[in-house]
Protein backbone atom coordinates (compact mmCIF):
# COMPACT_ATOMS: atom_id res chain seq x y z
CA UNK A 1 0.00 0.00 0.00
CA UNK A 2 1.03 3.63 -0.34
CA UNK A 3 1.78 5.63 2.78
CA UNK A 4 2.95 9.17 3.35
CA UNK A 5 6.16 8.74 5.32
CA UNK A 6 7.48 12.03 6.69
CA UNK A 7 5.71 13.82 3.88
CA UNK A 8 6.84 11.52 1.04
CA UNK A 9 4.79 8.79 -0.62
CA UNK A 10 6.28 5.35 -0.08
CA UNK A 11 5.15 1.88 -1.12
CA UNK A 12 5.09 -0.34 1.98
CA UNK A 13 4.16 -4.02 2.28
CA UNK A 14 3.94 -4.18 6.07
CA UNK A 15 0.48 -4.06 7.61
CA UNK A 16 1.34 -2.56 10.96
CA UNK A 17 3.49 0.27 12.20
CA UNK A 18 6.21 -1.83 13.84
CA UNK A 19 6.74 -3.87 10.67
CA UNK A 20 6.62 -0.73 8.52
CA UNK A 21 9.39 0.86 10.58
CA UNK A 22 11.59 -2.20 10.08
CA UNK A 23 10.80 -2.29 6.36
CA UNK A 24 11.64 1.41 6.01
CA UNK A 25 15.03 0.93 7.67
CA UNK A 26 14.29 2.30 11.12
CA UNK A 27 14.85 -0.87 13.13
CA UNK A 28 16.59 -0.12 16.46
CA UNK A 29 16.47 3.65 15.90
CA UNK A 30 15.52 6.00 18.73
CA UNK A 31 12.35 7.63 17.48
CA UNK A 32 8.75 8.49 18.14
CA UNK A 33 5.87 7.82 15.79
CA UNK A 34 2.51 9.26 14.90
CA UNK A 35 -0.12 8.00 12.45
CA UNK A 36 -2.50 10.56 10.97
CA UNK A 37 -1.46 13.07 13.58
CA UNK A 38 -2.01 10.75 16.55
CA UNK A 39 0.95 9.70 18.70
CA UNK A 40 1.49 5.93 18.70
CA UNK A 41 3.60 4.89 21.73
CA UNK A 42 6.35 2.37 20.99
CA UNK A 43 4.65 -0.58 22.78
CA UNK A 44 1.54 -0.09 20.63
CA UNK A 45 3.24 -0.04 17.24
CA UNK A 46 2.76 -3.75 16.62
CA UNK A 47 -0.98 -3.43 17.11
CA UNK A 48 -1.29 -0.26 15.01
CA UNK A 49 -2.75 -1.43 11.69
CA UNK A 50 -1.97 0.73 8.68
CA UNK A 51 -4.28 1.58 5.79
CA UNK A 52 -3.79 3.01 2.31
CA UNK A 53 -2.97 6.70 2.45
CA UNK A 54 -2.04 6.83 6.14
CA UNK A 55 0.31 9.61 7.17
CA UNK A 56 3.31 8.41 9.21
CA UNK A 57 5.49 10.81 11.13
CA UNK A 58 8.80 9.31 12.23
CA UNK A 59 10.63 11.74 14.48
CA UNK A 60 14.06 11.57 16.06
CA UNK A 61 16.13 13.73 18.43
CA UNK A 62 17.40 16.85 16.75
CA UNK A 63 19.16 20.09 17.60
CA UNK A 64 16.83 22.60 19.21
CA UNK A 65 16.72 25.94 20.98
Amino acid sequence: MNLQVNGEWREVRAGDLAAALAELGFADAVLATAVNGQFVPAPERGAAALAEGDRLEILAPMQGG
Partner: protein, 257 residues
Protein backbone atom coordinates in the same frame (compact mmCIF):
# COMPACT_ATOMS: atom_id res chain seq x y z
CA UNK B 1 21.86 26.82 43.33
CA UNK B 2 18.23 26.95 42.26
CA UNK B 3 15.71 24.26 41.51
CA UNK B 4 13.71 23.38 38.43
CA UNK B 5 10.87 21.02 39.32
CA UNK B 6 12.76 19.87 42.42
CA UNK B 7 15.97 19.28 40.47
CA UNK B 8 18.84 21.32 41.94
CA UNK B 9 20.72 23.18 39.22
CA UNK B 10 23.97 25.07 39.78
CA UNK B 11 24.61 26.69 36.41
CA UNK B 12 22.27 29.54 35.62
CA UNK B 13 22.97 29.22 31.93
CA UNK B 14 20.79 26.87 29.87
CA UNK B 15 21.98 26.26 26.34
CA UNK B 16 20.24 25.47 23.08
CA UNK B 17 21.84 22.93 20.74
CA UNK B 18 20.75 24.34 17.36
CA UNK B 19 22.69 26.02 14.56
CA UNK B 20 26.26 25.26 15.61
CA UNK B 21 28.85 25.04 12.83
CA UNK B 22 29.55 21.39 13.70
CA UNK B 23 28.81 18.75 16.33
CA UNK B 24 32.36 19.15 17.66
CA UNK B 25 31.83 22.87 18.20
CA UNK B 26 28.51 22.18 19.92
CA UNK B 27 30.34 19.86 22.31
CA UNK B 28 33.02 22.47 23.00
CA UNK B 29 30.41 25.15 23.61
CA UNK B 30 28.45 23.00 26.04
CA UNK B 31 31.62 22.22 27.94
CA UNK B 32 32.74 25.85 28.01
CA UNK B 33 29.32 27.01 29.18
CA UNK B 34 29.26 24.75 32.23
CA UNK B 35 25.55 24.25 31.55
CA UNK B 36 23.62 21.40 33.12
CA UNK B 37 20.55 21.69 30.87
CA UNK B 38 20.39 21.77 27.07
CA UNK B 39 17.34 22.09 24.86
CA UNK B 40 16.63 19.60 22.09
CA UNK B 41 13.83 19.02 19.61
CA UNK B 42 12.21 16.32 17.48
CA UNK B 43 12.35 16.35 13.70
CA UNK B 44 11.65 13.97 10.84
CA UNK B 45 14.30 11.28 10.54
CA UNK B 46 15.54 10.04 7.16
CA UNK B 47 16.23 6.29 7.28
CA UNK B 48 19.47 6.51 5.30
CA UNK B 49 20.97 9.45 7.16
CA UNK B 50 20.06 8.65 10.75
CA UNK B 51 21.13 12.17 11.69
CA UNK B 52 18.96 12.09 14.78
CA UNK B 53 20.64 8.94 16.06
CA UNK B 54 24.07 10.53 15.77
CA UNK B 55 22.89 13.69 17.49
CA UNK B 56 21.28 11.74 20.32
CA UNK B 57 24.43 9.78 21.07
CA UNK B 58 26.41 13.05 21.08
CA UNK B 59 23.99 14.62 23.58
CA UNK B 60 24.10 11.60 25.85
CA UNK B 61 27.88 11.79 25.94
CA UNK B 62 27.64 15.38 27.15
CA UNK B 63 26.14 14.13 30.41
CA UNK B 64 23.68 17.01 30.75
CA UNK B 65 19.95 17.01 31.36
CA UNK B 66 17.79 17.57 28.27
CA UNK B 67 14.82 19.87 27.97
CA UNK B 68 12.86 18.90 24.82
CA UNK B 69 10.99 21.71 23.11
CA UNK B 70 7.86 21.89 21.00
CA UNK B 71 9.40 24.41 18.60
CA UNK B 72 7.56 24.87 15.35
CA UNK B 73 4.17 24.02 16.83
CA UNK B 74 1.41 26.49 16.05
CA UNK B 75 -1.56 24.70 17.60
CA UNK B 76 -2.38 23.16 20.96
CA UNK B 77 -2.79 19.74 19.36
CA UNK B 78 0.60 19.86 17.64
CA UNK B 79 2.32 20.97 20.83
CA UNK B 80 0.64 18.34 23.01
CA UNK B 81 1.36 15.55 20.51
CA UNK B 82 4.97 16.67 20.18
CA UNK B 83 5.29 16.67 23.98
CA UNK B 84 4.02 13.07 24.11
CA UNK B 85 6.52 12.02 21.47
CA UNK B 86 9.36 13.86 23.20
CA UNK B 87 8.58 12.26 26.55
CA UNK B 88 8.91 8.82 24.98
CA UNK B 89 12.10 9.54 23.04
CA UNK B 90 13.97 11.55 25.65
CA UNK B 91 12.62 9.80 28.72
CA UNK B 92 11.86 12.99 30.62
CA UNK B 93 8.73 14.69 31.89
CA UNK B 94 10.31 18.08 31.23
CA UNK B 95 9.04 19.95 28.20
CA UNK B 96 9.75 23.46 26.96
CA UNK B 97 6.31 24.33 25.72
CA UNK B 98 6.19 26.58 22.68
CA UNK B 99 2.99 27.42 20.87
CA UNK B 100 3.92 29.96 18.23
CA UNK B 101 1.34 32.60 17.43
CA UNK B 102 2.98 34.89 14.95
CA UNK B 103 5.50 34.21 12.20
CA UNK B 104 7.55 37.42 12.13
CA UNK B 105 8.20 37.70 15.85
CA UNK B 106 7.71 34.03 16.82
CA UNK B 107 5.66 35.50 19.64
CA UNK B 108 3.92 32.84 21.71
CA UNK B 109 0.21 32.26 21.22
CA UNK B 110 -0.48 32.74 24.91
CA UNK B 111 -4.07 31.47 24.68
CA UNK B 112 -2.96 28.20 23.11
CA UNK B 113 -0.01 28.10 25.51
CA UNK B 114 -2.22 28.19 28.60
CA UNK B 115 -4.53 25.53 27.16
CA UNK B 116 -1.65 23.23 26.21
CA UNK B 117 -0.01 23.77 29.60
CA UNK B 118 -3.23 22.77 31.36
CA UNK B 119 -3.45 19.55 29.33
CA UNK B 120 0.21 18.62 29.83
CA UNK B 121 0.37 19.46 33.54
CA UNK B 122 -2.70 17.27 34.08
CA UNK B 123 -0.79 14.47 32.35
CA UNK B 124 2.10 14.84 34.79
CA UNK B 125 4.44 16.74 32.49
CA UNK B 126 6.76 19.32 34.03
CA UNK B 127 6.13 22.25 31.77
CA UNK B 128 8.53 25.13 31.00
CA UNK B 129 6.28 27.52 29.08
CA UNK B 130 7.84 29.95 26.63
CA UNK B 131 5.73 33.02 27.36
CA UNK B 132 5.71 36.80 27.34
CA UNK B 133 6.12 39.07 30.37
CA UNK B 134 2.32 39.41 30.67
CA UNK B 135 1.31 39.07 34.33
CA UNK B 136 -2.14 37.65 33.68
CA UNK B 137 -0.79 34.98 31.35
CA UNK B 138 1.82 34.12 33.97
CA UNK B 139 -0.94 33.79 36.56
CA UNK B 140 -2.90 31.46 34.27
CA UNK B 141 0.16 29.33 33.53
CA UNK B 142 0.83 28.88 37.23
CA UNK B 143 -2.83 28.05 37.83
CA UNK B 144 -2.53 25.45 35.04
CA UNK B 145 0.21 23.77 37.07
CA UNK B 146 3.45 25.25 35.70
CA UNK B 147 6.14 25.72 38.36
CA UNK B 148 8.65 27.48 36.10
CA UNK B 149 8.09 30.33 33.63
CA UNK B 150 10.24 31.28 30.67
CA UNK B 151 9.46 34.83 29.57
CA UNK B 152 11.05 36.12 26.40
CA UNK B 153 13.61 38.89 26.49
CA UNK B 154 12.93 39.80 22.87
CA UNK B 155 12.06 37.77 19.74
CA UNK B 156 13.88 34.45 19.27
CA UNK B 157 17.25 34.90 17.61
CA UNK B 158 16.96 38.70 17.48
CA UNK B 159 19.78 39.49 19.90
CA UNK B 160 17.97 42.56 21.19
CA UNK B 161 18.27 41.60 24.84
CA UNK B 162 15.62 42.61 27.36
CA UNK B 163 13.03 44.59 25.40
CA UNK B 164 10.57 45.42 28.14
CA UNK B 165 12.47 46.07 31.36
CA UNK B 166 9.44 47.47 33.12
CA UNK B 167 7.33 44.41 32.32
CA UNK B 168 10.09 41.97 33.24
CA UNK B 169 10.76 43.72 36.56
CA UNK B 170 7.05 43.61 37.34
CA UNK B 171 6.97 39.89 36.54
CA UNK B 172 9.96 39.25 38.81
CA UNK B 173 8.42 41.28 41.63
CA UNK B 174 4.98 39.70 41.28
CA UNK B 175 6.21 36.09 41.27
CA UNK B 176 9.14 36.28 43.65
CA UNK B 177 9.12 32.55 44.46
CA UNK B 178 8.73 31.15 40.93
CA UNK B 179 11.85 30.18 38.98
CA UNK B 180 11.95 32.57 36.01
CA UNK B 181 14.24 31.90 33.07
CA UNK B 182 14.72 34.52 30.37
CA UNK B 183 14.34 32.64 27.11
CA UNK B 184 15.00 34.17 23.73
CA UNK B 185 16.46 37.39 22.44
CA UNK B 186 19.68 37.52 24.46
CA UNK B 187 22.47 38.74 22.17
CA UNK B 188 25.56 39.38 24.26
CA UNK B 189 26.82 38.44 27.73
CA UNK B 190 25.85 41.83 29.19
CA UNK B 191 22.19 41.06 28.40
CA UNK B 192 22.48 37.86 30.40
CA UNK B 193 24.19 39.67 33.26
CA UNK B 194 21.39 42.24 33.24
CA UNK B 195 18.75 39.51 33.47
CA UNK B 196 20.47 37.99 36.47
CA UNK B 197 21.01 41.40 38.08
CA UNK B 198 17.23 41.90 37.92
CA UNK B 199 16.79 38.71 39.89
CA UNK B 200 15.88 36.30 37.12
CA UNK B 201 17.01 32.81 38.01
CA UNK B 202 18.65 31.87 34.73
CA UNK B 203 18.85 32.51 31.01
CA UNK B 204 18.43 30.18 28.05
CA UNK B 205 20.74 31.04 25.16
CA UNK B 206 21.11 29.52 21.74
CA UNK B 207 21.71 31.76 18.72
CA UNK B 208 23.97 34.20 20.58
CA UNK B 209 26.38 31.33 21.21
CA UNK B 210 25.91 29.05 18.21
CA UNK B 211 26.18 31.87 15.66
CA UNK B 212 29.05 33.69 17.34
CA UNK B 213 32.35 33.70 15.48
CA UNK B 214 33.79 31.52 18.25
CA UNK B 215 30.89 29.67 19.91
CA UNK B 216 32.92 27.99 22.65
CA UNK B 217 34.53 31.27 23.65
CA UNK B 218 31.14 33.00 23.68
CA UNK B 219 29.70 30.17 25.79
CA UNK B 220 32.48 30.79 28.31
CA UNK B 221 31.74 34.52 28.26
CA UNK B 222 28.06 33.84 29.01
CA UNK B 223 29.06 31.51 31.83
CA UNK B 224 30.98 34.37 33.46
CA UNK B 225 28.18 36.86 32.77
CA UNK B 226 25.53 34.87 34.61
CA UNK B 227 27.83 34.46 37.61
CA UNK B 228 28.59 38.20 37.66
CA UNK B 229 24.91 39.09 37.23
CA UNK B 230 23.77 36.79 40.00
CA UNK B 231 26.46 38.02 42.38
CA UNK B 232 25.47 41.59 41.57
CA UNK B 233 21.84 40.82 42.36
CA UNK B 234 22.73 39.17 45.66
CA UNK B 235 25.03 42.02 46.61
CA UNK B 236 22.13 44.52 46.45
CA UNK B 237 22.62 47.07 43.66
CA UNK B 238 22.24 50.79 44.39
CA UNK B 239 19.23 52.69 43.12
CA UNK B 240 19.94 54.85 40.05
CA UNK B 241 19.68 58.62 40.61
CA UNK B 242 19.32 61.50 38.24
CA UNK B 243 22.00 63.72 39.81
CA UNK B 244 25.62 63.12 40.69
CA UNK B 245 26.60 62.17 44.21
CA UNK B 246 30.30 62.70 45.00
CA UNK B 247 31.91 59.45 45.97
CA UNK B 248 34.88 61.04 47.74
CA UNK B 249 34.19 62.62 51.14
CA UNK B 250 33.25 66.30 50.96
CA UNK B 251 34.17 66.99 54.58
CA UNK B 252 37.87 67.70 54.89
CA UNK B 253 38.35 68.92 51.33
CA UNK B 254 41.46 71.11 51.24
CA UNK B 255 41.17 74.79 50.34
CA UNK B 256 43.77 75.19 47.64
CA UNK B 257 42.55 78.26 45.75
Amino acid sequence: MFTLYDVPVRSRLLLGTARYPSPAILTEAVQASGTEVVTVSLRREAAGERAGQAFWSLVRELGVRVLPNTAGCHTVKEAVTTAHMAREVFGTRWVKLEVIGEEDTLQPDVFGLVEAARILCAEDFEVFPYTTEDLTVAERLLAAGCRVLMPWGSPIGSGHGLNNLFGLKALRARFAQVPLIIDAGIGVPSHAAQALELGFDAVLINTAVSQAADPARMAGAFAQAVIAGREGFLAGPIEPRDMAVPSSPVVGTALLR
